[in-house]
Assembly symmetry: C2
Homo-oligomer: 323 residues x 2
């Protein structure tokens, strides 16, 4: 048994070098993408008239990163935080807005919750920020009308090898020339638009006209963080039963489907959706039915919390239509 295994060891080289650091100029910021789905729209909690995500500095007093995040979010939004998972840690020098030369590290988190009644201020549809991401009613016009031609122009400014690469990226991420739409590429799409100078954030300080793509901009790199959160959530609902964090205690299968569709930004085949949800035993009937205004009443279901323990981390497999 080595000394390390008794917890006595002190590391050599790396620890020694650590003494020379100049860490006093590094700030650590915690940022939350807090998501809820209401009235068929995926919503994100914002501050400052929709320009910022809840965030605050990590402090020595915080027990953990998550604890610090919870403190800030509950303080700023007065909204409780349920399911939380870490997203990404950003620290690019040129992306954090006009903050001088101090370095800021943003540790971002995704939070899922049920929007409380009555509807509070900060909730906004995430498609306000990414209109090109909503394909529930087919491909949004902005892609063919504005995005595609501008990306072509942008690629055209380059010469052969680089141009081909730009064209390829545009085709794959925005489903041009018959490529299939991939809902999980939200971040890649935003980054492509950023590089192409088509979002307001990439024009900052350069005095250029803001984009006319229709998406709202945000403070600092918050829109990038939001894109990261959307991409992660879209990927995750396909193999982990996290959708239920966004649902009320009981719900109909159609409500569940609408929730998934809102998040994924695309329509799903109703019958297949039911088949999958039921045969995976993710839900159980409550016995009650809804009495909505119109149509045959639907059975009410609740999430079977048992599956989380049983299959641990198995797989949810939400079917997402491909055409």
């Amino acid at each position: 048994m080595s000394s390390a295994e008794r917890g006595q060891i002190s590391r050599g080289e790396p620890a020694a070098k650590a003494e020379h650091r100049t860490e006093h100029a590094i700030k650590v910021e915690l940022t939350a993408v807090l998501v809820a789905v209401t009235q068929g729209e995926p919503r994100v909690m914002t501050l400052d008239a929709g320009h910022a995500l809840p965030s605050g500095p990590f402090e020595v007093a915080h027990r953990s990163l998550q604890a610090g995040l919870r403190d800030w979010v509950e303080q700023q939004t007065h909204h409780p935080l349920g399911y939380v998972e870490q997203l990404y840690t950003f620290a690019d020098k040129d992306r954090t807005g006009a903050e001088g030369d101090a370095r800021t590290i943003s540790i971002s988190y995704l939070g899922l919750t049920r929007e409380r009644e009555p509807a509070e201020g900060g909730w906004r549809s995430w498609y306000d920020y990414f209109p090109w991401e909503d394909h529930r009613a087919g491909e949004p016009e902005v892609i063919a009308q504005a995005i595609a031609p501008r990306l072509m122009d942008w690629a055209g400014k380059e010469t052969a090898p680089k141009r081909a690469e730009r064209l390829q990226r545009a085709r794959v991420t925005f489903a041009l020339d018959g490529h299939p739409w991939n809902d999980e590429l939200t971040l890649q799409r935003y980054e492509l638009l950023y590089e192409a100078g088509l979002v307001a954030e990439s024009c900052r300080g350069r005095g250029e006209a803001a984009s006319r793509l229709g998406g709202r901009a945000m403070f600092s790199d918050h829109r990038r963080i939001l894109a990261t959160g959307i991409a992660r959530l879209r990927a995750k609902i396909k193999y982990r039963p996290v959708v239920f964090e966004l649902m009320p205690p009981t719900f109909t299968l159609l409500q569940l489907q609408r929730c998934v569709e809102a998040l994924a930004g695309r329509a799903v085949h109703k019958q297949n959706f039911r088949r999958l949800v039921e045969q995976q035993e993710l839900v159980e009937e409550t016995g009650a039915t809804t009495s909505e205004a119109v149509g045959r009443p639907a059975k009410l279901f609740r999430f079977r919390h048992g599956v989380v323990a049983e299959r641990a981390v198995a797989g949810t497999k939400i079917p997402i239509a491909r055409t």
Copy 2:
């Protein structure tokens, strides 16, 4: 167009609160899980006689987190860093060893590379640290012999509701009672053993005897970071063509299979593996064949770099045998 979209905005509430911070006591550490596969073993680059991962503090002078990481790794290991992706950011107060009360944030990265000739010092099989993770030749004895009974004891110390939960976690993560083995649960298994006090790291400062499970311990929370890297890589090879970052320029399909098996810690069905790799057009023949000592010569292949661009982020689908 709002002021934010012209890049003029300064955030209200959160920015104001940020002034009260006490960030001077927070250190930011960059840590690398650098992986290579040689002689059929998945290896990780270590320092300090295998007790630490390459790491160093993030400094204001670094262009980005990745740039800082590359600097440290190349300085400490003299080994170039190829493919890199962020893993996770840790900051638990009680997991970073005996460093007083200064808070340390560890931002960890996964790096993939080809081990250089001649074999250098720091490379170690990651199964030295996690012997229970290698199921290529069936379930390792340590699970039935040592892990399972001790976890049962640990669960038995609790009363009804909590005991059931512990038992369930043990069964699912370690494939007891007929549950299938899930190779991606490396981190969950390590965390379970940590909680149960069965790894040396969780006995630190408590004077308890170190575990006899056979796994090497590491400095601070480096073994947890390594577990995170293994889990991520095992998940990723199944849907992204990252294995090729670990392969030489040309290779046979069996070599590729052995590499995947080393990483996943389980055997795969040979014919199905070939079928999948070939029909996905991940590789192309070089025209040459190997002339190994024994057996029919195998065709040599190279990775088709085109697929990365073509299918962007589509899916590799490496088949992993279930029984």
